[in-house]
C-alpha cells in the first residue's frame, strides 16, 4: 500500500562511515551474492561476459575527490536504499507494490504486484532502485529483511550482508528511531548526516563524515648544530644508564 505509515515502530537502517570506507566493494558484492538467491532473487545480469555487461545491484560504491581549503581528499562512497521516512518511491507507486513496513520502516517492493512502470525509480533522488528487465519488476535493498529476523541463520549472521562483510567496520545497523541505540549514539557522536535533505525524503540511513586529522605535534625537531663531527663527538660521551 502506498500510503506511508504515519509512523513506524522502529526505523531500521544503516550508518555508513565515510572515514573508514576504503572502497573495497565487499558490501556491494556481498549484497549481490546474498540477494541473488534471496528475497528478490535473482539479481539478473545481462551480457555478463560481453561488451555491455549490466546487472541489478542494490549497493554501489562510488569514489569522489573533495577539494578542501587545506588540500584535497579521496572519499569512497557506498550508496544503497536509505529507507526514507518520507519515501517518495512509496507514494508514487500506482499499484501498492512499493510499501514501507509499519513495524520497522523497511521499504520493500512486492514483486507480485509490481507492474514495472519504473516511476518509483524516477521518484527516488538517490538512485536506489534498479529495474530487472527480465522479471519486469523493480528491485532494491531489502535491508536484508530475510536475514535480520531469520532464526535459520546463526545470531552473528542476522545483520545485513553488507554490514557483516565490511572489513573495516565502516557499516553499522540498528534502530535509528531509538535514541538509546548504538547506531543513534554513533550518529550523535560523529555528526551523522542525511544525504540531500532538501529533497525532503527524510532518509533513515546516515553517513558519518571524515574525521579531523589527529594533531600530534606542530614543532619540528630541534636539530643539534655542527654537523657530523659534532654529532660523533656528542655520542662518544654517551653513556647508557
Amino acid at each position: 500500500m502506498t500510503m506511508l505509515p504515519s509512523s513506524t515502530a522502529k526505523k531500521l537502517g544503516l550508518v555508513i562511515d565515510l572515514d573508514t570506507c576504503v572502497g573495497c566493494q565487499a558490501c556491494a558484492t556481498s549484497c549481490k551474492e546474498w540477494n541473488d538467491a534471496g528475497h528478490s532473487a535473482p539479481l539478473t545480469d545481462t551480457d555478463p561476459y560481453g561488451a555491455a555487461p549490466d546487472g541489478v545491484w542494490f549497493n554501489r560504491v562510488h569514489s569522489y575527490e573533495v577539494q578542501t581549503p587545506g588540500g584535497s581528499k579521496t572519499v569512497n562512497f557506498p550508496k544503497s536504499c536509505l529507507h526514507c521516512d518520507n519515501a517518495p518511491c512509496v507514494t508514487v507507486c500506482p499499484t501498492g507494490a512499493s510499501f514501507k513496513r509499519a513495524a520497522d520502516g523497511i521499504v520493500l517492493v512486492d514483486a507480485d504486484k509490481c507492474i514495472g512502470c519504473k516511476l518509483c525509480s524516477w521518484a527516488c533522488p538517490y538512485g536506489a532502485r534498479e529495474y530487472d528487465a527480465h522479471d519486469g519488476v523493480m528491485k532494491k535493498c531489502t535491508l536484508c529483511v530475510d536475514r535480520i529476523y531469520n532464526e535459520n541463520l546463526e545470531e552473528a549472521a542476522r545483520v545485513p550482508a553488507c554490514v557483516a562483510a565490511c572489513p573495516t567496520g565502516a557499516r553499522s545497523f540498528g534502530d535509528l528511531g531509538d535514541p538509546h541505540s548504538g547506531v543513534s549514539a554513533l550518529v550523535r557522536a560523529r555528526g551523522g548526516y542525511d544525504l540531500m535533505p532538501e529533497q525532503g525524503c527524510a532518509p533513515v540511513n546516515k553517513y558519518l563524515p571524515p574525521r579531523a586529522t589527529p594533531q600530534i605535534t606542530q614543532a619540528p625537531l630541534t636539530r643539534h648544530g655542527g654537523g657530523i663531527e659534532s654529532a660523533l663527538l656528542r655520542w662518544l660521551d654517551k653513556i647508557l644508564t
Partner: protein, 972 residues
C-alpha cells in the same frame, strides 16, 4: 477485498531457509587466505561469507571472496586436458584424456630427468604451495625452480630477512591494537588484505592515532589515511633517509634498543684493501666485539647489561682499527644531502612536511610509549615486569619493492624502525610466527646433483656469502633464470620473469620443458609482451621451437593457454584439498601461529584434477624418491590429501602443524595423525596456537619464545637473533668484488657488486631524469581484483570492465589533454593507447592505471569485443625487460635480488588524433571464441530459500569499527 485494493501490508518471508549445508574452507580469490563458510543448497553454492571464528578475517569478507560463486561458475574454466594441434598462439587444441596427458608429460619429464634434469624449468605463479612444489623440484633434481616472488615482491622479503629476521608482506603486521602512529609505504593492496582493513578500521577509531600513507596515488587505504604524502615513485628511500637525518640530528634514537637488540654497536674492522675490511671484529671465540662506554674496554657483543659506544674508532689487539657500525651509518645519513630541504624536490614532498612527520614520529615514539602489564624474560635471563613499546608502526609493499632500488629502500625502512626501537614492541611492527628467524635464515640454494638424483636440499635458499652462489667455475650462472649468480646473488625467490627470455637465448643453456603453473607469462606477468610471445613461438633452424615443450596448468583460460603444448586443467579452490602451511606462507598473526587447509566443497563438474594431485601422480610415474615407495608403488596414492597427512620433513615436521601425533595432541611436531584433516575440518579448516602473553613481543630476545620456536621447529636453536643494521653478509660479496677470496665476480660485474652490496642501507637513486620520458607510470591492484583474475568473474568485471590512465589535471593540461581524452603513452621501448581520467590525488609527475584489467581478446571466457580488450590496456608493453645504457644490457631488476622493477617505468603522453581515439592499442590477434557465453545470468532463482514459517525474532544491532575495537581490548 483489502488485498484487492492493496490496502493491507503484504506479508514478507523473514525466515526463509538459508542453506542445507555449510562447509568451511579457505578462500583463494587472492593470497589473503581468509576463512570462509560456503553455504550450499542442493549441492550448489548459495552464498559465501566469512568465518567469524577465523583468525585472519574474523567473519568479514572482501569483494573477491564474496564473488567466489562467479569464479566457480565462470565460462573461462578449463574443462579437459588439451593438446595443442595448431601453432603456438593459435589456440587450436584437441581435448585428450588424462591418461594420455599424463603419459605425454611423464614422457617429456622422464627424458629430461635421465639426461639433464636442469632442462626442466618448473615455475609457479600465483600459487601458495612452494614447500610442496619446491620439494617436488628437489626430488626431480632440477635447480630451475621458483615461484613468482621474483616479479612479485622479493625485495620486501629479502631486505627484511637480511636485516630484521622477518619482513613486511604477510610475514609481519603492525600492532593494530596498540599502535599510535602508522606509516604505510607503497601499498594499494597487500596479501594480508582483510587483516589490514580490519586493523585500519580499528586504529581509525582511536582519535589519538595517526595514519600516514606514503604513496604516489591517493585511493583505497590512502583515501582514509589521516595524511597522504604523494611521493615521487621510487624515492621512498630518500624520504626515509631524510627522516633518519632529522632523528639523528635531534638525537631521537632509542639507544637502549640499539644496544641490546641490534648490531649497531658492533665493531667493524677498518682496513681498506684487506680481506677482512668491513667485517666484524671478533674475539678468539668468534664473538663480535663492542667497546664498553664506561670502561673503554673491548667486550663481547652479547655481554649482559652492555653499555656500548656507538661511535669512536679503537685499536684492536692485533693493531687494526675498528669503529662501531653505527658510526658509518650515522656519518652517511647525517650528510647534508639527506636533510629534508635537500631531498624535498626529488621526493615530491615539501621539506616542512618531512620535518613534521619526523617530529610526529619522534613525539609518538619517545613521549607516548605504550606499556603492557605483561612480564617477560630476555635471553640474558633478566626478568622485566612490563613490556614497554614505542608505538610507531610501519608497513610497506610493492610500491617500495618493484623498483631497482627496492631492496635498499626496504632496508632503510627497517633501519628507521631499529633507530626508533619499534620492532616487535607494543605498538610497533610485529613478526608473525614462524618469524623472527636467524639473519639470514638457514639453508642455502641447492646445487645440481647427478642426473636421476634428487637435489640435496630445496632449490631456493639464503646465500650467506659468495660460496653459496650457484655459479660455475667461471662465475657464470648455473640456473636458467641466473638467480643466485653474481648477477643476482640474493634472488631468493628466483626470477620467473627472465626464464622465457633466457631459455630462448639458451643462456646459459637450452631447456627442454617449461612447466608453468598459474603464471600468466604470455600477458600481464611479463614485461614487453610482444617479445615474450616471440620468444615462446620462435623456432630454431631445424624447425623446433626454441623452447621445445611447454606444459601449463591453470583453472582458467588465460592468455598463456594458447602458447602451451599441453594443458593440465586445475580445479577451482572450492574443489580441492590444499594447505596453507607454516612451511610456506602461513596465516599466522602476531599473537599466534596458524595454518589452514582447503577441503573440497564441490565435486568438479568437468574433467579437471587438482594440480598437486597431478604432480604427485607424475612424481610416482617418474619414480621420484619422495613420491615412490621402495617397491615402486606411489607413496601418496591418495593424492595431495595423502601427502598432507603423511609427509614428514626433518624433526617430525609436516605440512600441517595442528593435531599431530597418533592421538592428535601434538602441535608443530609429531607423527602423522590419520584424523588430522578431520580435526581441521571440525575446527573450521584452520589451526591456531596462541602464544602466551609473555611471548608476544621482543621475540628476537625473548627466551621462552625462542625456546618455544626451537621446539616447534621454526628456528634451529633458542638463540637470540640480533637485528642487523649492518650486514656483514653483504660486505662479503663486496669484498669478493674488491678482489678478495677464491670466489670473485666476473670483471664486468665487479663495480655493480661493489656498489650495491653495501653493508649499510643506502639510498640508491633511480636512473637519471630523461627529458623524453618525464613521467613515472605505475599500476595499482584494485581491491576487487587479483591480478589477472577477476575479468572472468561476471560480478567483479561489472565493477571494472576497462581501465583508464589516471593523470593529474595540471599534467594533463601540459600534455594538451582533458579528462576523457585519448592519449598515446610512450616509453623507450614502445607505445600504448589509452583513455585518460584526471584526478587530483596523484603525484604530479606520475600517471597510473589499475593492474591487469586489460585482456587479450578471446581470453578469460569473454566475448571477443569485451571492453577489457577493446578499451582496457596494459602498461606492460611499455616496460623494457632489459635496461642499461652502457652497452651491457641488464635485466630491468634490482641488482641484488633480481626483483622485477615494474615501477621504474618512465613515459610521456601524446594526445591521440580523433581517428585514433576510442580503442586501446596495441591489439593482439584475438583468440578463437570458445563456447557461447550466456546472455543472461539468473542463477540465484533456483537457489532461493523456501519459507520455513518461522516467525521473526528481534533484530540485533551491529556496530562497525568501534564495536570491533572494543572486542580487541584496544581501549587501554
Amino acid at each position: 477485498m483489502s488485498d484487492l485494493l492493496n490496502q493491507a501490508e503484504p506479508a514478507v518471508d523473514t525466515a526463509p531457509s538459508a542453506a542445507d549445508e555449510i562447509k568451511t574452507t579457505t578462500c583463494y580469490m587472492c593470497a589473503c587466505r581468509c576463512g570462509i563458510r560456503v553455504h550450499l543448497t542442493n549441492g550448489a553454492v548459495r552464498y559465501i561469507d566469512g568465518n567469524p571464528d577465523h583468525p585472519v578475517n574474523r567473519g568479514v569478507i572482501c569483494a573477491k571472496g564474496a564473488s567466489g560463486i562467479m569464479q566457480q561458475y565462470s565460462p573461462a574454466r578449463l574443462t579437459k586436458p588439451l593438446l595443442r594441434v595448431g601453432p603456438r598462439g593459435a589456440g587450436e587444441f584437441r581435448e585428450i584424456e588424462w591418461a594420455e596427458a599424463l603419459d605425454i608429460a611423464a614422457g617429456w619429464l622422464g627424458n629430461i630427468r635421465q639426461r639433464a634434469p636442469r632442462e626442466l624449468a618448473f615455475f609457479t605463479g600465483r600459487d601458495q604451495s612452494q614447500s610442496f612444489t619446491g620439494w617436488w623440484a628437489q626430488q626431480f633434481g632440477t635447480v630451475n625452480y621458483a615461484a613468482h616472488g621474483g616479479f612479485c615482491s622479493v625485495n620486501m622479503a629479502a631486505a627484511g630477512l637480511y636485516s630484521i629476521g622477518g619482513s613486511f608482506w604477510e610475514f609481519g603486521e603492525p600492532d593494530w591494537a596498540h599502535t599510535r602512529y602508522f606509516l604505510l609505504f607503497g601499498v594499494a593492496e597487500d596479501h594480508a588484505s582483510n587483516p589490514i582493513k580490519i586493523g585500519i578500521g580499528q586504529l581509525k577509531a582511536r582519535p589519538d592515532t595517526k595514519f600516514v600513507s606514503v604513496n604516489p596515488v591517493r585511493t583505497g587505504y590512502s583515501a582514509v589515511a589521516d595524511e597522504w604524502l604523494g611521493i615521487r615513485p621510487g624515492t621512498d628511500g630518500l624520504f626515509v633517509a631524510a627522516l633518519i637525518n632529522e632523528l639523528l640530528a635531534a638525537d631521537k634514537v632509542d639507544w637502549a634498543s640499539l644496544a641490546r637488540y641490534t648490531n649497531a654497536p658492533w665493531l667493524v674492522i677498518d682496513a681498506p684493501g684487506t680481506a677482512e675490511h668491513g667485517l666484524f671484529a671478533r674475539d678468539t671465540d668468534g664473538q663480535p666485539l663492542c667497546v664498553d662506554a664506561r670502561s673503554g674496554e673491548l667486550v663481547p657483543a652479547r655481554t649482559v647489561d652492555l653499555a656500548p659506544r656507538f661511535v669512536g674508532a679503537v685499536e684492536l689487539p692485533d693493531g687494526r682499527r675498528a669503529a662501531p657500525a653505527f658510526e658509518g651509518f650515522a656519518t652517511r645519513f647525517l650528510d647534508p644531502g639527506f636533510e629534508p630541504a635537500a631531498v624535498a624536490s626529488a621526493c615530491g614532498i615539501d621539506a616542512d612536511s618531512i620535518r613534521r612527520v619526523a617530529a610526529e614520529i619522534a613525539a609518538v615514539a619517545f613521549e607516548r610509549t605504550v606499556t603492557l602489564d605483561v612480564p617477560w624474560v630476555d635471553v640474558w635471563g633478566r626478568r622485566h615486569a612490563q613490556m614497554t613499546g614505542r608505538p610507531v608502526s610501519m608497513h610497506a609493499m610493492r610500491g617500495i619493492s618493484a623498483h631497482a632500488n627496492g631492496f635498499h629502500t626496504c632496508r632503510l625502512i627497517h633501519a628507521l624502525q631499529m633507530l626508533l626501537g619499534t620492532i616487535d614492541v607494543p605498538g610497533g611492527f610485529r613478526y608473525k610466527p614462524p618469524f623472527p628467524r636467524p639473519i639470514p635464515p638457514a639453508g642455502s640454494p641447492a646445487t645440481e646433483s647427478e642426473a636421476g638424483q634428487p637435489l640435496t636440499r630445496m632449490p631456493l635458499g639464503f646465500p650467506r656469502g659468495p660460496e653459496y652462489l650457484l655459479v660455475d667455475a667461471h662465475g657464470n650462472p648455473t640456473r636458467i633464470d641466473h638467480a643466485f649468480s653474481w648477477e643476482y646473488p640474493l634472488a631468493l625467490h628466483g626470477m620467473l620473469h627472465t626464464v622465457i627470455h633466457n631459455a630462448w637465448l639458451s643462456d646459459p643453456y637450452p631447456i627442454d620443458t617449461l612447466f608453468l603453473y598459474m603464471a600468466n607469462m604470455a600477458w600481464n606477468s611479463s614485461m614487453d609482451i610482444a617479445a615474450t610471445l616471440h620468444q615462446l613461438t620462435d623456432r630454431r633452424a631445424d624447425g623446433e621451437y626454441r623452447i621445445p615443450h611447454i606444459i601449463y596448468s591453470d583453472a582458467y583460460y588465460s592468455e598463456t593457454v594458447p602458447y602451451a603444448d599441453l594443458i593440465l586443467p586445475d580445479t577451482t579452490y572450492l574443489e580441492r584439498w590444499d594447505c596453507i602451511s607454516l612451511l610456506d606462507r602461513p596465516i599466522s598473526d602476531a599473537n599466534g601461529a596458524a595454518d589452514a587447509i582447503r577441503q573440497p566443497v564441490l565435486v568438479p563438474d568437468r574433467d579437471v584434477r587438482a594440480f598437486q594431485d597431478v604432480l604427485l601422480e607424475l612424481g610416482a610415474r617418474l619414480a621420484l624418491p619422495g613420491m615412490t615407495q621402495a617397491d615402486g608403488t606411489p607413496r601418496y596414492p591418495g593424492g595431495y590429501a595423502d601427502y598432507l597427512l603423511h609427509h614428514v620433513r626433518t624433526n617430525d615436521v609436516g605440512p600441517l602443524a595442528g593435531w599431530r601425533g597418533s592421538d592428535g595432541s601434538a602441535s608443530f611436531r609429531g607423527a602423522p595423525n590419520e584424523d588430522q584433516l578431520e580435526r581441521y575440518i571440525e575446527h573450521g579448516c584452520f589451526f591456531r596456537a596462541e602464544l602466551p602473553h609473555t611471548q608476544r613481543y621482543f621475540r628476537y630476545a625473548n627466551q621462552p619464545y625462542l625456546e618455544h620456536a626451537a621446539q616447534a621447529g621454526w628456528i634451529g636453536a633458542a638463540q637470540t637473533i640480533t637485528l642487523e643494521l649492518y650486514s656483514e653478509t653483504l660486505q662479503k660479496f663486496r669484498l669478493a668484488a674488491d678482489g678478495h677470496g677464491d670466489l670473485q665476480p666476473p670483471a664486468a660485474l665487479r663495480d655493480r657488486i661493489a656498489t650495491h652490496f653495501d653493508p649499510l642501507p643506502r639510498w640508491q637513486p633511480l636512473a637519471a631524469a630523461d627529458a623524453d620520458y618525464p613521467l613515472h607510470a605505475l599500476t595499482q591492484r584494485p581491491m576487487h581484483m587479483y591480478h589477472s583474475w577477476g575479468s572472468q568473474n561476471a560480478w567483479l568485471r561489472q565493477l571494472t570492465t576497462s581501465n583508464a590512465l589516471y593523470v593529474h589535471p595540471d599534467t594533463a593540461r601540459a600534455a594538451g589533454l582533458a579528462d576523457g581524452d585519448w592519449t598515446w603513452i610512450l616509453s623507450s621501448s614502445g607505445r600504448v593507447k589509452a583513455q585518460i581520467k584526471t584526478m587530483h590525488g596523484v603525484n604530479r609527475d606520475t600517471v597510473w592505471t589499475w593492474n591487469a584489467i586489460g585482456k587479450r581478446s578471446g581470453s578469460w571466457g569473454l566475448d571477443q569485443d569485451a571492453p577489457e580488450s577493446s578499451v582496457g590496456f596494459l602498461l606492460n608493453h611499455l616496460i623494457p625487460t632489459h635496461v642499461g645504457s652502457t652497452g651491457r644490457a641488464e635485466v630491468n631488476a634490482d641488482p641484488l635480488t633480481g626483483q622485477a622493477a615494474w615501477f621504474d617505468l618512465k613515459v610521456r603522453l601524446e594526445r591521440c588524433t580523433a581517428l585514433e581515439a576510442g580503442a586501446s592499442a596495441p591489439v593482439f590477434a584475438p583468440f578463437p571464441a570458445r563456447t557461447a557465453t550466456p546472455a543472461v545470468l539468473r542463477r540465484g532463482l533456483a537457489l532461493k530459500g523456501t519459507p520455513t514459517g518461522r516467525s521473526a525474532i528481534t533484530h540485533r544491532e551491529y556496530l562497525g569499527g568501534s564495536a570491533q575495537a572494543e572486542e580487541d581490548g584496544t581501549t587501554q
